[in-house]
């Protein structure tokens, strides 16, 4: 007979409406044997009572429905972000508040490098919080003129490089005529490279891997540590090519006795015909394990709003920029949706702009007419600009949505003044509209674009503050209870895992977020500051302090 452990806690928030709060949870074989009072649980027979969580608050382990495992590898680069951020080892890096501070931090990192030819990559720079200060190659040359340096912006759309980096890429010359490469008065590039087209040729010389979505074993283990530190027990990798080698690595790492999260990697649609894509997804599905859930597909329709590559409906971008880019044709999208419905495969679609969302909704409606499918749960990811009519359509089509709540904090001001203007900025990531319309909803971080941290994501959706401290879109705020639902059952539902995770009730995985405070008792404006002690995942206890 298997062992039973009963944990007592200050409070257990179950997300099970029949008994929302309990004092004890019994765990057997990595699953919840029962939640309730000690008396109620004792009927299951012999048990060990474990009081280590007696002063903690337990919640269902958080589910992050849109992140990338490369968050684990990005931390090998020098953190240059404006906001404080925690690395996999628990160190909180103070945000750099000026270009000078960034250069200082790069200098410190440079001094620790032994190999004189090693590049020095930095990440998460965001000059929009520094009066849009420009970083020139001369600035970065002050850190080093002999090794290549490149700093990727938080938006992912701009990279600043030094003279050596330009030289190695063959771009330290006059006469370059490229819209993404501004030239100085001397006719040479200033070192600012705008857009992936412009910075990709330099990226590999300054230390950024070609396959930006790639992750290695060490990166995945680091990603797991971040999960523990944020209370996350199930998380997506959205998305990757998932070649044989990558899948082997993920199977191996996720099966390690101390790997603390359930990873759900989606197969990126690019580079394959629709038929090949379906075949590969099916093949992957068969390889699924408890800790690695394979077989889902991600389709990308457009780009990003802050990069002006999202597809917007009329009247387009507020600053008059050209409309964005399509990454798929309507025919191609239609083929994939039809084939996936036919083959019982689950798709999540990336749409940022409202025109891209409209294309997916229209194409989905037609595909569902061909292949009526109950409970398909196809999910619109980001879906930042959707209006009320589009949410009503989602509801009618049985689609789910995963809104980018964190984005609102980091780029909300930018959207208000520059990209879409005040009116549309108010409705971005319309959580309340989604819930009131009855569209199943999750909220996400898109880590590493913004930091992983479901409680922070919940805080964003509850308070709708922008970085400058304005409330943007009062009417789209949601309650703490709704936000906590979104980061547990809500996200699990979009992954068809709500029968296994997302609440603490009999039969489900013993996946818990172990918290120092009660998120339902703190002031909603303090939700992001609730401390995470660690997690329990599949019945195994992971203390953040012991990682």
């Amino acid at each position: 007979m298997s062992q039973t452990t009963i944990y007592s806690a200050r409070k257990i928030i179950t997300m099970n409406p029949n008994q929302p709060e309990v004092s004890h949870v019994a765990v057997r074989e990595g699953r919840v044997l029962g939640a309730g009072s000690l008396e109620e649980l004792a009927v299951w027979g012999d048990y060990t009572l474990d009081a280590r969580f007696a002063d903690k608050v337990l919640m269902p382990g958080f589910v992050e429905g849109h992140a990338h495992t490369m968050e684990g590898t990005m931390w090998r680069n020098v953190y240059c972000g404006f906001f404080d951020r925690m690395d996999p080892n628990g160190k909180v890096w103070a945000g750099v508040k000026s270009i000078e501070a960034m250069l200082e931090r790069l200098k410190e990192a440079e001094a620790k490098l032994d190999d004189p030819d090693a590049p020095l990559p930095g990440w998460q720079l965001d000059p929009i919080y520094m009066d849009n200060a420009l970083v020139s190659r001369a600035d970065l040359d002050r850190v080093s003129s002999t090794r290549a340096i490149g700093v990727l912006h938080a938006s992912g759309h701009i990279m600043n490089v030094n003279t050596k980096g330009l030289e190695l890429a063959g771009l330290m010359k006059t006469g370059i005529n490229h819209p993404g490469i501004p030239l100085g008065p001397d006719g040479y590039p200033t070192g600012e490279l705008r857009g992936p087209d412009a910075y990709m040729p330099v990226g590999e010389h300054v230390g950024f891997d070609r396959d930006v979505l790639g992750c290695d074993a060490e990166g995945l283990r680091d990603f797991g540590k971040l999960c523990v530190r944020t209370g996350t027990t199930t998380i997506t990798d959205l998305a990757a090519r998932l070649g044989d080698e990558a899948v082997e690595m993920m199977l191996e790492v996720t099966s390690e006795a101390d790997f603390p999260s359930r990873i759900v990697p989606l197969r990126h649609f690019m580079g394959l015909t629709p038929e090949e894509l379906i075949a590969h997804a099916k093949e992957l599905k068969d390889k699924s394990t408890d800790q690695l859930r394979l077989g889902m597909i991600k389709v990308v329709a457009d780009g990003s709003i802050q990069g002006f590559s999202a597809r917007l409906r009329w009247p387009g971008y507020h600053n008059g920029a050209d409309n964005g880019l399509w990454y798929i044709t309507p025919d191609h999208l239609s083929q994939i949706l039809n084939l996936a419905l036919e083959n019982d495969l689950h798709i999540h679609t990336h749409t940022n702009g409202d025109q891209a969302t409209e294309l997916v909704l229209e194409t989905m409606e037609e595909a569902l007419r061909n292949h009526p499918t109950p409970d398909h749960r196809y999910t619109l990811q980001h879906c930042q600009l959707a209006d009320a009519a589009q949410f009503r359509k989602m509801k009618q089509l049985g689609m789910c949505v995963n809104l980018f709540a964190n984005h609102h904090f980091y780029w909300g001001d930018e959207h208000y003044t520059l990209t879409v203007g005040p009116e549309r900025a108010l409705r971005m990531n319309a959580c309340r509209t989604a819930l009131e319309t009855g569209v199943p909803m999750a909220i996400h971080s898109d880590a590493p674009v913004t930091p992983l941290g479901p409680l922070f994501t919940a805080w964003c959706a509850v308070n709708r503050l922008t970085a400058s401290g304005r409330v943007q879109g009062e009417g789209e705020k949601i309650s703490v209870a709704d936000a906590l639902y979104a980061i547990t059952i809500g996200a699990a539902y979009t992954l068809k895992l709500d029968g296994e995770v997302g609440s603490i009730e009999v039969g489900k995985k013993a996946d818990f977020a172990v918290l120092e405070d009660d998120p339902t008792a703190v002031d909603p404006s303090d939700l992001k500051d609730v401390k995470v002690w660690g997690t329990v995942q599949g019945g195994r206890v992971f203390a953040a302090a012991d990682l």
Partner: protein, 299 residues
């Protein structure tokens, strides 16, 4: 190493990019073309041209190859440089939604490659309907705006009125391009790829002259390569392509080339054969007049 020239073939779905590429492969005539396609959809190469095929590469009669590049074009281009024997010219078939100008910009930044030109294929029958498409319309017109050469394809399938309308429509967006009519993507390769101009000039061979005419000039006197490049790309000469080698006032040799309104010049080896070939469209092309205007510049 000599930079590897890259021609980008763009245009919306169904315009006939694939048939144009297959026509090029059939008429490669010893030139080793490497075709890069965005993804292997329906097989992009006519079956009778295929010699061998594995996951990553299709080998084609005459030493040509075809590879797919998925999401990483730069890596695929780098891989082509490792082929032995090396290809002479890269034909990059962009996806139906790609903006070829952006691809050309990226290629222009890569070491070891030179941008030859952007060819946009448009379907004479569906061009205007595509340009009015609710979602894709602006992608179609932006593709045209990126063109150095527009191939108005399938003109055999439309009446004169539609053909004239499509032509006028394409011209209104493709301000910097020469416009060519084609059936089944069939055009002389000299017009589409610079490498054929160069090869035919060196070997003295010529091709189909029903569409274009050409003039060869010896360029005995020195001249400013930039001024020559500008003239070759000018509306005044209205050339489709030009390619040659000139000596500047200091005696250094430069390669100068143009496609429609785009031109470039770069330093060339001392043993490069001085001289210039200019290609223009019939019936407007007047070789003598072109020679005269270039002579005015070179003195």
């Amino acid at each position: 190493m000599k930079p590897l020239p890259v021609t980008v073939i763009g245009g919306y779905l169904g315009a006939g990019k694939t048939s144009l590429v297959n026509h090029l492969l059939r008429n490669a005539d010893g030139l080793r073309l490497a075709v890069l396609v965005n993804e292997f959809g329906a097989l992009p190469i006519d079956e009778d041209l295929i010699v061998a095929q594995d996951d990553d590469i299709i080998s084609i009669a005459g030493g040509c190859v075809c590879c797919s590049y998925g999401s990483d074009m730069a890596a695929a281009l780098s891989d082509l440089r490792k082929l032995d024997p090396a290809p002479d010219h890269v034909v990059l078939e962009a996806s139906g939604v790609a903006l070829p100008g952006a691809i050309a910009g990226s290629v222009g930044l890569m070491q070891g490659y030179s941008m030859d030109g952007v060819v946009i294929v448009a379907d004479a029958e569906t061009l205007q309907a595509n340009a009015n498409h609710k979602y894709m319309g602006d992608t179609v017109t932006r593709q045209l705006a990126d063109a150095d050469i527009v191939v108005l394809n399938k003109v055999d399938l439309v009446n004169d009125k539609t053909r004239a309308e499509s032509e006028a429509f394409a011209r209104s967006y493709a301000k910097n391009a020469q416009l060519l009519m084609a059936e089944h993507g069939a055009l002389p390769p000299e017009v589409l790829l610079q490498s054929f101009v160069e090869r035919n000039r060196d070997s003295g061979t010529g091709h189909d002259t029903s569409v274009f005419d050409s003039v060869s000039l010896s360029l005995d006197s020195p001249c400013d390569p930039a001024a020559l490049g500008q003239l070759l790309a000018s509306e005044e000469l209205d050339l489709v392509r030009a390619k040659g080698f000139v000596r500047d006032a200091d005696g250094a040799i430069h390669a100068v080339q143009s496609v429609s309104r785009r031109w470039s010049s770069e330093a060339a080896p001392e043993d490069s054969p001085i001289g210039l070939v200019c290609i223009g469209l019939k019936p407007a092309f007047d070789g003598d007049a072109v020679a005269r205007k270039i002579a005015e510049l070179t003195g």
